[in-house]
Amino acid sequence: MKKVGVFVCHCGTNISQTVNCEHLAEVAKDMPGVVFSTEYKYMCSDPGQTMIKKAIEEHNLDRVVVAACSPRMHEATFRKCLSGTDLNPYLLEIANIREQCSWVHSDKNKATAKAEDLISMSVAKALKNESLTPSVIPIHKRALVIGGGIAGIQAALDIADTGYQVDLLEREPSIGGKMAQIDKTFPTMDCSACILTPKMVDASQHPNITIIASSEVEKVEGYVGNFDVTIRRKATCVDPIKCTGCGLCSQKCPAKTDSEFECGMSKRPAIYSPFPQAIPNIPIIDQTACRYFQTGKCKICQRICTADAINFEDQDELVTIRYGAIVVATGYALYDHRDKYGEYGYGQYTDVITGLDFERLVNASGPTMGKIKRPSDGQEPKTVVFIKCVGSRDATKGHEYCSRACCMYTAKHATMVRDKIKDSQAIVFYMDIRTPGKNYEEFYLRAVEEYGVTYVRGRVSRIYMENGKLIIQGEDTILGTQVIVEADMVVLATAMEAQPDATEFARKLGITFDQNNFFNEAHPKLRPVETFAAGIYLAGACQGPKDIPDTVAQAGAAAAKVVALLSKDEMTTEPIIADVNINRCSGCGFCVPVCPYKAISLKTLTERVHGSVAWGPTGREVTRQVAEVNKGLCQGCGACTVNCRASALDLLGFTNEQILAEVDAL
């Protein structure tokens, strides 16, 4: 005879204000199998847990039902409590009378009746619960960091410093990401390159870091501790081992195309390194621009290369490497205002530029050598207008969310205009000013008070050209008037958005993404760098818009999680996984394609059955196929169990028997 104990939690007043907990503890005593029941203010607290342990001992309980909050909140807590007793932790059952009862109801009588039902269901299930034992999987001690921006570099360095091997994967020819394009960084105004490039060098020289540039993830298989990642090394036509990085090829290359790094404001050769401090400092051939690939003639670079490093026959290459953990640090893209904001000219005005364009214009190694010149005619702009929230906080044309960094970088840009151009005027149109960071508000105030930047609260409704000037027409909502400004240049603070291929990439990895295509963290507050896929972590703006300090902090956090995982030789896995009853399995294979984690395969079984034929030995040998579940891959979703025609598949901890017992109790 099984003995069930029921423990009803008040959760302060969270539960008790709409559910009569004392009454529940009383009626639970009469439920089948229950030998003990009680209630307490905070069951998750130390005295609460002690109460459970004591009751188990005193009343010889062999099943425990805790009626409290959602199992997502405290199931782990109470399982841990049970593991300190003789009971197997999986003999615990949680009745969720908070999220699914007290929080969503107001009528106390009805809510109490519902809570009673929930408890009786849990008791019925608990009676059918069986002990479960976690299994262990080995952990391969090598990490992959995808994306070589500041997030990826920081995560790789932090992991490598603890002694583990890290591969840093970057699809561009160099690591550095968007931060390499930025001139100065708020709120300290230190030069972006001065703080980034040393980190890039550290990464390239670190004995535990391997930089894999010009490469992308092709396929991800396996599971936590044992990911098999297939990487596509794109054909660069330059042998990285032979190349000395002398740069002669780039100097002599006759083909020119727009430089991505300079936001199209200057040209680069077809064989190029994106910027002088590139790491690895190995050029690649852009086949779409290369004269040889386009016309079949040229090969100048090959002729002049003293190292014989140019190989026009180079092909993409696939390699598969095993990793224990993965950090996703794929960054963000910038919102393209050109096809959406007709009122700002649909991108037809050359002097209406983006914030990133401006970074290149003020950068000493940029197309204008750091002198702010407007793109149309190279003149120094005297009046520069900044427009914030272009594509951010604009559900109609862009995104509903705030991009978080624009208020600060616009203050920075406006300061730089006032600092670098004599007699200049910097006017910022804004909706709100958001400066929630250390020394951020002070930075903004300095722009206004010391540098005399003009802030106008209101949206710009239109930009048009008149007599060679950009006319900015907007509203000052504080004065309640229309504003018309003649400007020489306009800088748009365009939104940070998810990479265009974010969703496709997420599916490759088996991680989830939100309504804006940013990757989902496992919990917005308590698990900010984990994903729902064990062993895959997030760093930087791929998870949501972020500035550099937050990105670096998150990268460090992701690295800590990776190190915690890699520091173990093996890890226990959740035993709530699918289980095959091979006696019932017909080998139909319906479960194989249904499994989203590719955890089920068919195996051949040879067994002797009774009955024989005259010319053979006693008993017949039968060969048949049955399903087999990979315990490392199975995430316990249950998709296969409902699909199994023979009911041969059961989800341990949620077997058909257990679920139906709950239904019967209702």
């Binding site: 007709g342 649909y346 048009y464 050209m465 007599n467």
Partner: protein
């Protein structure tokens, strides 16, 4: 193509030329305009300030009569168009609204036949025919297309053109052989009734548009709304006096422009009825003979 033509109140008064030219041009281009029988006021500019339901019910009655005839409404006036499109949209998006409106107008209305602006009708069905029928290509005429506020807004239900960079009138200007100028104020507000009722506010609005058109090198402005037309045509004299330099920018409806290209007499198109002399420019450019210009030279 046959349409139920809804002239609205303006086209028998300030927008008479729009009516004359539309009626004169349409048959040449295979467009049959049958005036909607027993039409009523669309309610524009007053009904929707008073009562939302009334603002929907007034145009709904017209639309329902059109639906009874099995015809789409073709609407020349931008304000009538806006109100009718708003009604169509409201009925399409809510069963409840449809029942309410049907009860009020005491007839069925299912929004089965899409409301069209006259501009849309011309763009959709007559551009090819137009090319064959042009007798007087308007070569060398620099024209500024002016759309005003309502032609492509609000975007929820005015889906025929880009709200920031509309093209339809420019396409017609090109089709008749003239040169559309690129200018900034295609969709700026003309002030609606303010230039008349409150010139201190309305005047500068019209002034900005005229100035821009002038600066961009336009010789005339082409529009598709009787309100815009009245403001731009009527105010030039006063605004010219204010700045001590007269404006001389004839305003034409796009239908008048097409009419001239088809060789229809300016008088039939109502070109002699404008405040700003609209005949002179056409004579200068050699699009019409001088004799016709002597008839009447504009009212201002």
């Amino acid at each position: 193509m046959k349409y139920a033509y809804y002239p609205g109140c303006s086209l028998s008064a300030t927008g008479l030329e729009y009516n004359m030219s539309s009626q004169a041009v349409a048959p040449h281009l295979g467009i049959e305009l049958q005036e909607l029988p027993e039409w009523n006021c669309c309610g524009a500019s007053s009904a929707h300030l008073q009562d939302h339901t009334l603002a929907l019910a007034l145009p709904a009655r017209n639309l329902a009569i059109g639906e009874g005839l099995g015809l789409s409404l073709a609407i020349p006036c931008a304000a009538c168009l806006s109100r009718s499109k708003a009604t169509e949209h409201a009925v399409r998006s809510s069963q409840e609204t449809q029942s309410l409106i049907e009860a009020l107008i005491d007839r069925p209305y299912t929004a089965a036949y899409p409301v069209k602006s006259l501009l849309e009708v011309f763009i959709e069905s007559s551009l090819d025919i137009l090319q064959d029928k042009i007798t007087t290509p308007l070569t060398g005429l620099k024209a500024a297309a002016y759309y005003g506020c309502l032609q492509a807004r609000p975007t929820d239900y005015m889906d025929m053109d880009d709200p920031e960079k509309p093209q339809t009138i420019d396409i017609i200007i090109e089709a008749v052989g003239a040169d559309p100028v690129d200018w900034a104020h295609k969709t700026e507000c003309c002030g609606n009734s303010h230039p008349t009722s409150y010139p201190k506010v309305g005047g500068p609005l019209v002034n900005r548009i005229l100035q821009q058109a002038e600066t961009s090198g336009a010789e005339c402005i082409i529009c598709a709304c009787p309100m815009c037309f009245a403001n731009l045509d009527m105010r030039q004299k006063a605004l010219g006096q204010e700045r001590d330099r007269p404006f001389n920018l004839p305003i034409y409806y796009f239908t008048q422009l097409i009419g001239i290209a088809l060789g229809i007499s300016p008088k039939t198109l109502g070109i002699d009825k404008h405040f700003v002399n609209a005949t002179e420019l056409l004579v200068q450019k050699g699009f019409i003979p001088k004799a016709e210009s002597s008839a009447k030279g504009g009212l201002a």
